[in-house]
């Protein structure tokens, strides 16, 4: 028997050495002589920190995940538009209002495009803005707490895809309509779409101190599909550019019917002009109803404000507000280079990548050289605004980012590759395959005036055989490339949670020092906060019972509660009294029809428990908090309806 064990070991070691042999030499074959140190270049030693944060959207999982680069390690999944049982987001009483909309409480969202706040066109690391595509919303994630602080619903909009990008000084974060709809919504035949449906472009003003958003105005555009957007940078600051498709205004089988025209448009919106028109009062006020949800860090609670109106600008009546630049074949990506001069449109069905010039656009506008108009909005001549074309770089161009050194990087979905090309000369410098079918790509700061052109992350839609299989559904993934050299080098594949739709990256030293360690108890303004054990109590109000509970290593106070009766609705308001870094406690209770709570030091959270049956029911700490975590537990005694067991609570029988 023992002998066989040895043999087995022998065989395994042999196999391992053989395999490592193969990888060694195949790396060499693929990467050349320099390829040997790939592992070193993504290795972050135990205890060391990554150089960059990457905020990678989870797409259809409705969340935003935080990774480190170059290691690809996952740090946190921030729930934004989807409930998260792990963190009680959308389950506890405090965060439920965050998911309110005019359609009611919505437990899921489709999160697409993170964008980090900027000052003077440079990343400032204060907030990440993200959009929800399905039920149009924009959210703001705070980068001191890494929590969702605000969600605002976008009225008159559908398929909120061309968002949530920020201007040079985070003056605005924008939202745009991918699915044109009747505005205001009404009952009408679908085939009367043409000319009747509208596409609203929304501008949300951001408070420079608090980050709080409000919808400053909406520009009511023709019923095209507004796909992607990018603010002007530097010289084009004050403008916003949107790609459009379905300028055919088809309402069915868009696959064919929205692909008929040779060119669609890039809409150039002069938002400084819009501000003037607002100031001059040239807007209409439209009655509407949408949710504005704000989480307060001091009350540890969210509240919903119902907003009732929005200002509308009509571009067909307001000259100088919007111009259309023709762009070949259903453009998808709309990207502006760091100088603000070049507007890159990627016609996903086009064989070329087309680049327009901001200077030429201004010139054409000044000379009033128009090819015509669409719904009263002037159309510029394609040739007048064209800066250049990258000829046949690949198939299915989607998105472009920049390295700040004069290079652009475009993803190609169909030919599954990233292509590096030069701004100005439009020549292809390098191409590297992705595994497989890449969508967005991200260079930290790569859509700002000051990119950090060291790494490029490609986000793939398909992985097939790249990882160990896990049944029909396999992991999603991102890939890291080194872009410091003339040629790109693939360094690392790493799995992601959800669909890695788009991402925003930032040097860690712009964010890490501001990260909060715990919430101060003396700043806790939660209406049901209990700031010390001697203030714990249980209060009855009819059939409702409020438990003011505290938690600290390693007990709850109180941990014995009696006098609860069948039919009672019991609110557990639990405050974590710890004031120490990384000591959250959790709590849940048998039969609780909600998630666990994960309560940070100094925080108060609330869960509801329905007392449905007589008995003595335990609760316990759900987060391994300390050496005596297993002892952190307690009981609630539930007596029959109408019994005279008095309300009583205690810890250590005191």
């Amino acid at each position: 028997m023992k002998f066989f064990n040895y043999l087995l070991l022998f065989a395994v070691v042999g196999a391992v050495s053989l395999t490592s042999c193969n990888t060694g030499s195949s790396k060499k074959g693929n990467q050349g002589a320099l390829g040997g140190n790939l592992a070193e270049r993504v290795y972050v030693a135990p205890g060391e920190h990554d150089e960059f944060y990457a905020f990678i959207s989870g797409g259809f999982n409705g969340q935003l995940a935080v990774y480190g680069l170059p290691s690809g390690r996952l740090f946190k999944v921030i729930p934004v538009f989807s409930v998260d049982a792990e963190k009680a987001y959308g389950f506890n009483e405090e965060t439920k209002p965050m998911l309110n909309t005019s359609y009611g409480f919505i437990p899921w969202g489709d999160l697409h495009h993170p964008d980090i706040s900027q000052t003077n066109g440079k990343l400032d690391g204060r907030w990440v803005f993200v959009n929800e595509n399905n039920t149009p919303r924009i959210a703001r994630v705070d980068l001191t707490t890494f929590e969702t602080e605000e969600i605002i619903e976008i009225p008159n909009s559908a398929g909120n895809h061309s968002s949530s990008y920020v201007t040079d000084n985070t003056e605005y974060v924008i939202a745009g309509t991918r699915f044109a709809v009747p505005v205001p919504q009404r009952d009408m035949p679908i085939n009367e779409y043409k000319g009747n449906f509208k596409g609203a472009l929304s501008f949300l003003k951001v408070d420079p101190e608090t980050g709080e958003m409000n919808i400053a105005f909406q520009i009511m555009m023709p019923g095209f599909d507004y796909d992607k957007a990018h603010p002007g940078r530097g010289k084009s600051h004050g403008w916003f550019f949107y790609t459009t498709y379905n300028t055919e205004e088809a309402h069915t089988l868009l696959e064919v019917n929205a692909s008929q025209r040779d060119k669609d448009f890039v809409a150039a919106v002069n938002w400084k002009k819009a501000e003037e028109y607002i100031k001059e009062g040239k807007f209409e006020t439209m009655k509407t109803n949408y949710a504005h949800n704000i989480y307060d860090e001091e009350t540890h609670s969210a509240k919903t404000i119902w907003e009732k109106e929005v200002k509308i600008l009509d571009p067909s009546k307001l000259p100088g507000l919007v111009y259309f630049m023709p762009m070949p074949k259903s453009p998808h990506g709309c990207d502006v280079d760091p100088s603000g001069e070049y507007i890159v449109g990627s016609g996903k069905l086009s064989a070329n990548v087309t680049v327009h010039s901001f200077t030429k656009m201004l010139e054409a506008i000044k000379n009033e050289k128009f090819a015509g108009d669409a719904y009263g909005i002037p159309i510029l001549n394609f040739e007048d605004v064209l800066a250049g074309t990258v000829v046949q770089p690949g198939l299915g161009p989607l998105h472009t980012e920049f390295d700040g050194k004069g290079n652009a990087y475009t993803t190609f979905f169909i030919s599954s590759e990233v292509v590096k090309w030069k701004l100005g000369t439009w020549e292809v410098v390098d191409r590297k395959p992705t595994y497989y079918s890449v969508g967005h790509l991200m260079i930290p700061g790569g859509n700002s005036q000051a990119p950090f052109g060291k790494y490029l992350v490609a986000m793939n839609k398909i992985t097939k055989d790249r990882y160990l299989p896990t049944g029909p559904e396999v992991t999603q993934s991102a890939q890291l490339y080194d872009i410091t050299g003339e040629k790109m080098e693939l360094l690392l594949d790493f799995p992601t949670v959800g669909e890695p739709h788009y991402a925003a990256g930032i040097p860690a030293d712009l964010v890490a020092p501001n990260s909060k360690k715990y919430y101060k108890l003396e700043e806790n303004k939660h209406p049901y906060a209990t700031l010390s054990e001697k203030d714990t109590k249980v209060v009855r109000d009819g059939n409702t019972v409020h438990v003011y509970m505290t938690m600290i290593r390693s007990h709850f106070a109180p941990d014995n509660i009696e006098g609860i009766k069948v039919g009672d609705k019991v609110y557990f308001h639990v405050t974590n009294l710890e004031q120490d870094y990384d000591v959250p406690h959790g709590i849940s209770m048998i039969g609780a029809n909600t998630s666990e709570m994960l309560i940070m030091p100094g925080q108060t959270e609330t869960f509801v428990w329905d007392a449905t049956a007589e008995g003595v029911w335990p609760f316990y700490c759900t987060d391994f908090c300390s050496a005596l975590h297993q002892e952190m537990q307690g009981y609630v005694r539930v007596s029959p309806k109408g019994s005279d067991v008095p309300l009583k609570w205690s810890l250590d029988d005191e």
Binding site: I552, R553, E578, Q579, D580, Y581, S626, A627, L628, E631
Partner: protein, 192 residues
Amino acid sequence: MIIGALLLLALFVFPLWNITLEAPQYPDPLGMNIWINKITDQEPNDIKNINLMNHYVGMKEIPEHMPEFDIFPKVIIAMSVMGIIIGFVGRRGLYVTWFVVMSILGAAGMYDFYLWEYEYGHNLNENAAIKFLDDQGNPLDYQPPLFGTEVILNFIARSYPSTGAYFLFSGMMLSLVAFYVDKKEEQKNEIT
């Protein structure tokens, strides 16, 4: 001499002693500053967290108030005032006397500190959740070092004088310097 005596008053502005506790879970050590009239956090909530750690092994909480906090300030003020008066009087012999008295008081203070540390580290709650025994099977004690570095279970405890103590030493040294300078002056005078 007067300066030396005045330096004592720095003890009201700076802590006398500093104890820190470092552990894998606390790469930024927990710490407390010991003053002549109080004990404070090195970083906010450090004492709270030290107490939380220590309660598992039955240690008492770090007191917010001790009788010493009343006595020490009075002693220091008295010694400082006395030193200033001596300075004005300018008698060399008194300088040395002051230094000796101050040294005795300092030693007494250290001894008192040691007694408190002993009590803090040995007098444990019998119902403590975790009880450790030493090699001989006796209950382990958790007394922090009086001066220096010591490993206590998973913690590295460091106990060293703080800014206030250096002012105190300097003050005491100055009284000696005053003594010698005075002596030299006198010798010079005698020679001439």
